[in-house]
Structures are given as structure tokens and as C-alpha cells.
């Protein structure tokens, strides 16, 4: 009876169950002499082992995560990105500096996906990298791995960024009136940042300067009497952070927005506020911001429409028209053909 013992064919007696004959390892001389060995690259061993460069890359990613003190889940995501990215043809050829950036970009992507507010600026300073170079590698990584990476979360960024401000505890070099409660500052800064987003100050801009300017305004408004005289630069120095170059511009824009909104509140309109004094009423403005925003934008829209109408009326009817002026409105033959073709697509 044929009966197999694991993978070895055996013939077993039906009556007593003794093994009568065993399968041989090979059956013919041909098998023993002419078959080829199984190459390591074709066995499963090759696939299960990681190449050394991938291992190094993964270790770099893990080190970065430890330095940034990221939670375990983030580290795992970053490592999985690195494991996918590093063996790829597009990245295997990268020089060492770019491979470092690649590791950083995996960490960045992972942070974004988990809502951890790591900024590119932080990453650049960590890796001593040029922002342009980082941008290129990051874009390449996203394209190659087809990563869906959400945008940097401003709310999280506010909380993290304010963590590094020194104004929430007494210290020798900080004047007493400057110290503020962290919770209140964070809450109000969040509101100001949200306001900035609603009023188009955030789209297309670097996020950190907005947060800095918002924090400054929030901090000022919590104790205006003592803090109105303080400048943004002084505030940042006291807080122990650098002044991002665009921050003064963002501050000015925020002031303008606040002034426009304050003009909609009857009891503030009579006060004739300027950019210094409007901060005192930030609380009021924030409280009524939904209503004020709607009012402020509506009047703005109307203004724009009026402007358009005015322009049309000003053009005189019988002004002399030169040939060259007409010609600028006429389509050349080539252009007309091309545009006709484009119209056909419609």
C-alpha cells in the first residue's frame, strides 16, 4: 500500500503495517547528476531578508522617531513607509544625503497621517537639510508610494508650538506681568488662528508665523494694560522663540481684520479703535466672530460690485480708436483656428 510519511513515499504492508519499501531521495542517475541546485535568489530566503541598505534606512527612521519622541504607532507607520520606499528603484540610487532626507520624509508623512504637527522647518533643522532638496524628495516619495498625506493640522500645531513658549511659568528674566496661563492662551490663540483661516490669511502661507502672531495677540489681549506696549520681537524674546520673518506681516493683517470686524460692533465703532487698542477688545470680537465675519464680508462684496460698475461707466463713448487698438482684440488666423479647436472640446 502506498502511504506517505511526511513527504517520503513509502510502501506499507496492508496487513501488519510494516514499512516494506521507502521512497528514495532520487530515482534515477539522471536526477542525481543533471538537475541544478536552487539558487538563493529564487528561494524564499532572499525575499525574507532585508538588504543592508534598507536596514540602515529603517534604523535611521527609527532613530529620528526616537529623537522626536514620537509614539509607537507613528514610528511603525514611518518604518513601513521606509520599508516600501527604500527598495524601490527610484530611491535605491540616491546618495547618502538624499537617503537621509528620504527617511525624514517617511517620518514626516507618518506624522501627517497621524495628525502629529511636525513642520518641515523642524525636519530641515534636524537633518541639516536644504528646504528645496527636502521638498523634492518629499514630493518624490509621495508620488512613488502614492501616499495620501493630509495637510498640517493647525490646531495641533498651535498646541505644540506654544509648548515651547516660556511665558507660562515664573522665571527670573520674565517680567511678572508677562506670565500667563497656558490653557487660556492656547484657547484664545486657537480662536485667532481659526479667524485667520476664515479671513484668508492662512491659505498659501507658512503656518508657523501665523501661530506666532496669533499667540502674540491672544497673549496681549489677556492682560492689555501691561502688555500693549510690548512688541512682537520683545514677546518672542521673552518667550524664548525666534521671530519668524513673516510674523510681523501676519500680525498687521490680523490687526486689519480685527479693525474691520470691530467696526461692525456698534459699541466699538464709537471708540475709533486703532491697531493698538483693538486688541483690548479681542475677547468681544472673538465672541461675536461668526456674525461679524458675515457682516464684514458682505459689505466687501458689495464694494467690489460697485467698483466694477464704476469702471464701466467711465469709458467715454466717442473716444478715438486706433487701428492697433482694434487689432489687439482680433484673433489672428492661427489663434482663431486653435481657439475654434478648443471650443470644439466644449
Amino acid at each position: 500500500l502506498p502511504d506517505a510519511h511526511y513527504a517520503q513515499a513509502q510502501l506499507v504492508c496492508a496487513a501488519c503495517g510494516c514499512v516494506a519499501a521507502e521512497g528514495l531521495l532520487t530515482t534515477t542517475f539522471g536526477d542525481e547528476e543533471h538537475l541544478r541546485e536552487v539558487a538563493f535568489s529564487r528561494s524564499t530566503g532572499q525575499r525574507e531578508q532585508r538588504s543592508r541598505s534598507v536596514q540602515r534606512g529603517v534604523k535611521r527612521v527609527q532613530d529620528l522617531c526616537r529623537v522626536l519622541r514620537l509614539p509607537r504607532a507613528l514610528e511603525e507607520t514611518a518604518v513601513s513607509h521606509a520599508e516600501r520606499a527604500l527598495p524601490r528603484a527610484a530611491f535605491r540610487r540616491l546618495g547618502l544625503p538624499k537617503k537621509e532626507l528620504l527617511g525624514g520624509c517617511c517620518v514626516l508623512a507618518s506624522c501627517r497621517q497621524h495628525g502629529w504637527p511636525l513642520t518641515m522647518g523642524t525636519l530641515c533643522s534636524l537633518l541639516y537639510a536644504d528646504a528645496e532638496l527636502l521638498a523634492g524628495v518629499y514630493r518624490g516619495l509621495r508620488a512613488e508610494l502614492r501616499l495620501c498625506v493630509p495637510a498640517l493640522g493647525l490646531a495641533e500645531l498651535v498646541k505644540t508650538h506654544l509648548n515651547s513658549f516660556r511665558l507660562f511659568q515664573q522665571a527670573a528674566d520674565i517680567p511678572a506681568p508677562f506670565v500667563e496661563d497656558k490653557e487660556q492662551t492656547v484657547t484664545r490663540t486657537l480662536q485667532v488662528v481659526e479667524l485667520a483661516g476664515d479671513t484668508w490669511l492662512v491659505t498659501g502661507r507658512h503656518p508657523v508665523p501665523i501661530v506666532t502672531a496669533a499667540a502674540f495677540l491672544a497673549w496681549q489681549s489677556l492682560r492689555p494694560a501691561a502688555r500693549l506696549a510690548c512688541t512682537l520681537a520683545r514677546f518672542c524674546r521673552a518667550a524664548g522663540v525666534e521671530v519668524p520673518p513673516p510674523a510681523p506681516l501676519r500680525l498687521k493683517e490680523l490687526h486689519d481684520v480685527l479693525l474691520r470686524m470691530a467696526a461692525q460692533l456698534a459699541w466699538l465703532r464709537v471708540l475709533r479703535l486703532d491697531k493698538k487698542t483693538v486688541v483690548k477688545h479681542l475677547g468681544d470680537i472673538l465672541q461675536h466672530r461668526v456674525f461679524l465675519l458675515r457682516k464684514a464680508f458682505r459689505t466687501e462684496d458689495e464694494e467690489e460690485e460697485e467698483e466694477d460698475e464704476e469702471e464701466k461707466e467711465e469709458a467715454p463713448l466717442d473716444a478715438p480708436i486706433s487701428d492697433s487698438e482694434i487689432e489687439q482684440y482680433l484673433r489672428g488666423r492661427e489663434e482663431a483656428r486653435a481657439f475654434g479647436k478648443a471650443k470644439a472640446w466644449l
Binding site: 502614492r146 479671513t199 491659505t203 464680508f297 470644439a344 472640446w345
Partner: protein, 326 residues
């Protein structure tokens, strides 16, 4: 390639042609040579056929039976299984007629090839099976046009003068030429009318940039060739080709880039930490758009003017959906 959707295959082919490391050049303000100069050959074949076919078809569309356009998903369900997704793709682009038209052309090409499964993957710009999508802007009626015409800002063209040139000699005898062999191995020549710049290489190849129209670019290139001729070289004027066209326009309303990147993830890249604009890589036509919060739009990567117009007509309804509403 198992398990990779046709859209991903298509995009992979697109991406394979782009050199990722050169994409930052998009933001370099005055680089004389904009996007890719070398003529792309075979990978473009599926695209090229899509672009060329409309030209070869009779411009008189009465001969084309358009009556089946609304029923396209039902008529061809058995032939073209991914046509069903064409509806969602139409929503995605927000421009119904464009996709339908391209569907017409590509369908015809597909039928003529008698290979009905092929067009599906080649036209994946038209009928991709979509990955999970966030809500998409509503479809606008086909007849609505934006009324805004993008203005051409820059044309990059190349021509072959077909003779070896002595660059030092040229730099010596031409007033409008500069030549710094240590910095760059070409003569930089400028003319005032049309106001353009040319890079002239010792091989006889020339790049002409800065013109605002195709005719101007050709005229300028001819003027440069004349200059080279007058300097004593037997210059010809071979293989003049427009390599890239850049256009810009203004939609006149602010745009919520954060929203746009959410709903058009596959095509958009918006990283305010890196660049203030949103980079939209349109698949059909293959144009890159830089969209800014102010409403200004820059379109680049076109070989023909119609591609710029078409790309803008495609994006306009999408942008309208993200007009400010606070």
C-alpha cells in the same frame, strides 16, 4: 501589476516621464528652459494617439454621431467595463462634455483597433475606477464657458540650425550675445523684437524662449538664424518645434486651496510650507496648473495652445466650487 488600477497604471506612466528632481524648477522664476526639452517618444504614444486623433478626425462634427453620448455607459457596458466610472470621472473634472468628447474619439479609436479592452486602460484619464473619494463638486452644464481666456506668457521652442557653430566667434561678432563657457556651454543671444532670448549651442541646436505666441516664437527663431547666417555660418532652419507653452489667467475670486486638495487628492499637491500655490497635475490634457489663493492660475506643459485653453476650461468649474463662501 496585479491589483493596480488602470488609473494607477496611467499615472505611473505619466510620472515615469517626469524627472522628479527637476520639478522644483517649476518655481525658479527666470529659468530660460522651462520644463522638459528632450522630445518624449514612446511613453507618449498612448497620449499622442489621443491628442492626434482629434486633429485627424473631420472638424465638421456633423459626421460624428453624438446622439449616443448620454447613453455611453449603457451602450458599451459589455465592451468597456470601466465606462461606468466615466460618470464619476465627469463629476471629478466637472466638465461633462470634454470627457464625453474624448470618450467619443477614444471609443472610435478603440473600435477601429477592434480591441475593446485596450481603450479602457489607455483612456484611464477618462474612466478610472476611483479610490475612496471625498465628496466631489457638482457637475456644471456643458454649455457654460468661463468667458476667461488664459494669456500666453512664454513659449519655449527649439530649432536645428544644422551646422557646427563656433561659439567664441559668434560671441565676438554679435552685439547681443553673451558667452561664458565656464558657466554654460552655449551662447545667450537676445533680440528686442520679438523680445526673446536664445540659447545657441555649438552643435547648431538652438532654444528660443520668451515669446508670447507661436508666431512670435517662430519669427524670433528665424531672426536668430538670420543673425547666425550673417555671421558666416551656413545655418538652416530645421525641425522647428514648440516644446512648452506657459499661460496664465485670473478667475477673479479667492480659492480655498485646502478644500481643493482634499477633493482632488490624486491630482493636487498643496504644501504651504514649501510653496504658496497648489500644484494640479491634470491628466487630460497633460498640463500642470499652479493655482493660487488669489485666483491667479498658471498653466504650463502644453505643446499646443488648445491644451492650455482646454485645461483652463476643465479647471474653472472645479475652482468655482471652491469660491469663498464665508
Amino acid at each position: 501589476m496585479d491589483g493596480v488600477s488602470p488609473l494607477e497604471q496611467y499615472l505611473e506612466r505619466c510620472n515615469g516621464q517626469d524627472d522628479i528632481s527637476t520639478s522644483p524648477q517649476l518655481f525658479a522664476p527666470m529659468s530660460p528652459y522651462d520644463v522638459d526639452l528632450p522630445i518624449q517618444t514612446t511613453p507618449d504614444a498612448p497620449f499622442a494617439s489621443q491628442f492626434n486623433q482629434p486633429k485627424e478626425l473631420p472638424p465638421d462634427f456633423s459626421s460624428v454621431d453624438l446622439s449616443f453620448l448620454p447613453d455611453i455607459s449603457q451602450d458599451d457596458q459589455d465592451q468597456n467595463p470601466c465606462e461606468g466610472a466615466q460618470d464619476t470621472q465627469k463629476e471629478l473634472d466637472g466638465s461633462v462634455s470634454r470627457n464625453e468628447d474624448s470618450g467619443v474619439f477614444l471609443e472610435e479609436s478603440g473600435l477601429s483597433e477592434a480591441d475593446t479592452t485596450q481603450p479602457c486602460s489607455e483612456t484611464s484619464g477618462v474612466c478610472p475606477p476611483l479610490t475612496p473619494m471625498t465628496p466631489v463638486t457638482p457637475v456644471t452644464p456643458a454649455s457654460e464657458s468661463s468667458g476667461i481666456v488664459p494669456q500666453l506668457q512664454n513659449i519655449v521652442s527649439t530649432v536645428n540650425l544644422a551646422c557646427k557653430l563656433d561659439l567664441k566667434n559668434i560671441a565676438l561678432h554679435a552685439r547681443n550675445a553673451e558667452y561664458n563657457p565656464k558657466r554654460f556651454a552655449a551662447v545667450i543671444m537676445r533680440i528686442r523684437e520679438p523680445r526673446t532670448t536664445a540659447l545657441i549651442f555649438s552643435s547648431g541646436k538652438m532654444v528660443c524662449t520668451g515669446a508670447k505666441s507661436e508666431e512670435q516664437s517662430r519669427l524670433a527663431a528665424r531672426k536668430y538664424a538670420r543673425v547666425v547666417q550673417k555671421l558666416g555660418f551656413p545655418a538652416k532652419f530645421l525641425d522647428f518645434k514648440i516644446q512648452n507653452m506657459v499661460g496664465s489667467c485670473d478667475v477673479r475670486f479667492p480659492i480655498r486651496l485646502e478644500g481643493l486638495v482634499l477633493t482632488h487628492q490624486q491630482f493636487s499637491s498643496y504644501e504651504p510650507e514649501l510653496f504658496p500655490g497648489l500644484i494640479y497635475r491634470m491628466v487630460k490634457p497633460r498640463i500642470v496648473l499652479l493655482i493660487f489663493v488669489s485666483g491667479k492660475v498658471v498653466l504650463t506643459g502644453a505643446k499646443e495652445r488648445s491644451e492650455i485653453y482646454e485645461a483652463f476650461e476643465n479647471i474653472y468649474p472645479i475652482l468655482k466650487g471652491f469660491k469663498k463662501s464665508s
